[in-house]
Amino acid sequence: MGKIVVTALEKRLMLPLVRSGRGFWIFAAALVAIIGWGAYAYSVQLREGLVVTGMRDRIFWGLYVSTFVFFIGISHAGTLVSAILRVTHAEWRKPITRLAEAITAFALVVGATMVIIDLGRPDRLQNVLLYGRIESPILWDFISISFYLAGSLLYLYLPLIPDLGTLRDKMPRRARIRRWLYSRLAARWRDTPEQRAHLGRAIAVMAVLIIPVAVSVHTVVSWIFGMTLRVGWQSTIFGPYFVVGAIFSGIATIIIVMAAVRRLFHLEKQILPVHFRNLGLMLLALDIALMYFTLSEYLTASYMGTSRDAFWLSLLASGPYAPMFWGMVFGGFLAPALILSITRARMVRWTVIAAVLANVGMWFERYLIIVPSMAAPQMPTEVATYWPTWVEWSILAAAVAGFTLLLVIFSKLFPVVSIWEVQEHVSALPKTVPATQEAIG
């Protein structure tokens, strides 16, 4: 039998799949524990009803819907970094597309789950299909998210096929279950020119198609609010405002996950500072666009100065939501812009700090869009109040843990950096140094 050739790159990228330290298991166990606690909290909610949450008749969307919008937002990571850069042939993207695509799929799964959790009677979910009205943005949302989830899973799977073929052939013999799994998923990949041609066509179609589908998703999510006659919601710019915010938080999430993966899996030679610099610049551009939209949204409301708008703005600027509002403006928007504007600060560490601030700010932004608008009275009456209960905080923690766990499981099953695309990229570079290969078998 002939020897199997495993290149240094393949070995580097496949090693995390077969080697897990004690830290990994402790981390995974902690995530499972948080999810378990969240499941218990949800069982309490299921048994007692939504009365165990802080939501009532006036404020009927709270932490769950804010988190849903936030996760749907970060699901735009894959679209921009993978699809747009793929369509524009930006070669530097190759080591980071896989992560972006995985973030998209998992964020969608967690985001969609939050909506089901928000239902006091989850068994009524079927009514959306059975009795849904096409006039309702809720149904549009259901349709577009379903299409986006299906498309994202397909778009995640397609570029995985060549790597699955590699894993099928080159994983250690003792990893029988995995080899069986890879064999089933690899679509009989033999790396023939014909197969590559078909794969290229499929990826090209999906890369182009997933962009408008993704844009439609967050536009439709924004329309749930924008098409409601309520102070703070009725707005013509909500569509692009939400999409820009979504891509902003999506890129921030990629930067954070990329930094974690780079450090934990020692991928410093594959995920380079230039990736952080480029994504940091994209984050800066979107941050500026987001600030522009935010200014436009609030300035218009304050300039018109109708009593309802003025009251809503006073809740944000000087009322009970002021700390969160100014935290969002200064901590979530201005601080990352300031950090990323400084050329010397565009190093990995500072870019990650900017990304963390951006994501915290974006979560605040989602919360501030939903809750204060519902708190502001529709009629001359008192301000409604809402504060999440332990059940909601627990489920939020479980959602974040669930998203992280899905990424962790993915990173243990599949290479987080696309082996074949990086190999193609390396092959295309001028050969100044002979390629290193290791023959093992």
């Binding site: 994983m171 023939t192 499929a202 009629m379 009456t381 504060w387």
Partner: protein, 374 residues
């Protein structure tokens, strides 16, 4: 300090600032105390002990003094402004509409007070709506930037433009004032919607038991109306007329009020309800009691069937259906195309496996197999 060291305090600060404290709760039910004979004097001055108690509304800053003797209420309002001040009595949870509103101001030595009726978010004098002005007495004063207004008014006037107040019942109460405007048209500086309970005469203890029944008529189908009909009879079998019955729908967040209706001469009161969804609905009706009868409650559970007919998509305009179908169909087709490519890849892989060729061989030319050893 290295960047990493001060990244953590920055994050903690951002999160901490945002969640320093939750917004405060607000709650608000005032009491109209029973006192017979009435001690309060309508003279525009409120002295300590004149009223049995008071209620300070945190939203408007208006202090309300209310008492009644079973026939008339005597009320005092102290507002933090020199403009108009008003109070309204109506259905719980309804702001102004249908309420009996007493609104007035003090200008110089003159006290102006008007008996008005709420129409939507407007109010008009009862006399302009073929009603009567039923104010028995009024007086007011201004000092230190505050207005004090006192008046006496019947609990039941018989005027259709006034809201009848019964002992032991809870009603909606609206408060509002303006900082400076002495008129009836300038929008309030602050207003609030609250509740007020009319205290029962403690010397009258009810002992009789009424019979309360709740039924429904109409199609119990999603989207259709059903009429909830309650009947209340005394222990002698005679209907109890003019008794307020409150209807509620039980929900996962507590009872949802459907309305309070007075019984007719047959002891019957009814409200309509539209089923928004299919499923089980539990309604109840509550009688809070009166001088003779103890409180009573009756429940009713109905199951609303799903609406039949076509899904809304099929009844939508043809052009809209075409656009939606074309867009969704186009996306589905593109997905299908990609899946077809995967099937082609599989087919080609099978063929290559049967006849190993390009691209699937190891260094020495054998088909790629085996595994990586560490």
């Amino acid at each position: 300090m290295t960047p990493r060291r001060w990244a953590i305090p920055v994050l903690i600060a951002v999160v901490g600032i945002a969640w320093i404290s939750p917004p405060a709760e607000a709650q608000d039910t005032a009491t109209m105390y029973f006192r017979s004979p009435v001690a309060a004097v309508v003279d525009g001055q409120i002295t300590p002990g004149e009223y049995p108690g008071s209620f300070l509304d945190p939203a408007t800053g208006i202090e309300v003094f209310l008492s009644h003797d079973g026939q008339n209420m005597t009320a005092g309002l102290a507002s933090p402004g020199t403009g108009w001040v008003g109070i309204g009595f109506g259905a719980p949870g309804v702001f102004m509409d249908g309420a009996n509103i007493l609104i007035g101001y003090v200008t110089g030595a003159t006290t102006v007070l008007s008996d008005e009726f709420g129409v939507g978010f407007e109010h008009l004098a009862d006399t302009r709506l073929n009603g009567t002005d039923d104010i028995i007495a009024k007086a007011g004063s201004e000092s230190a930037g505050r207005t004090t207004l006192e008046f006496r008014f019947p609990l039941e006037t018989g005027d259709a433009r006034d809201y009848r107040l019964l002992e032991g019942q809870t009603y909606g109460m609206t408060l509002g004032y303006h900082a400076t405007a002495d008129d009836f048209v300038t929008l309030h500086t602050a207003a609030a919607s609250l509740l007020v309970t009319v205290e029962r005469d403690p010397n009258v203890v009810p002992t009789r038991r009424a019979t309360l029944r709740l039924g429904s008529s109409g199609d119990e189908v999603e989207g259709d109306n059903v009429t909830l009909v309650a009947t209340i009879l005394g222990d002698d079998g005679a209907p109890l007329s003019a008794s307020p019955l409150s209807f509620y729908l039980n929900s996962s967040v507590g009872p949802g009020p459907l309305g309070t209706v007075e019984t007719d001469v047959y002891g019957v009161a009814a409200v309509n309800y539209t089923f928004r969804s299919p499923g089980e609905f539990t309604f109840f009706v509550r009688f809070t009691g009166d001088f003779d009868y103890l409180p009573a409650q009756a429940n009713l559970t109905v199951v609303a069937q799903p609406a039949g007919g076509q899904a809304s998509f099929l009844t939508t305009d043809l052009a809209v259906r075409f656009v939606i179908g074309a867009v969704l169909g186009g996306v589905a087709l593109a997905y299908g195309y990609s899946i077809l490519q995967i099937l082609q890849i599989r087919r080609l892989g099978s063929r290559a496996k049967r006849a190993p060729g390009r691209g699937d061989r190891t260094e020495d030319g054998t088909p790629r197999r085996g595994g990586m050893s560490k």
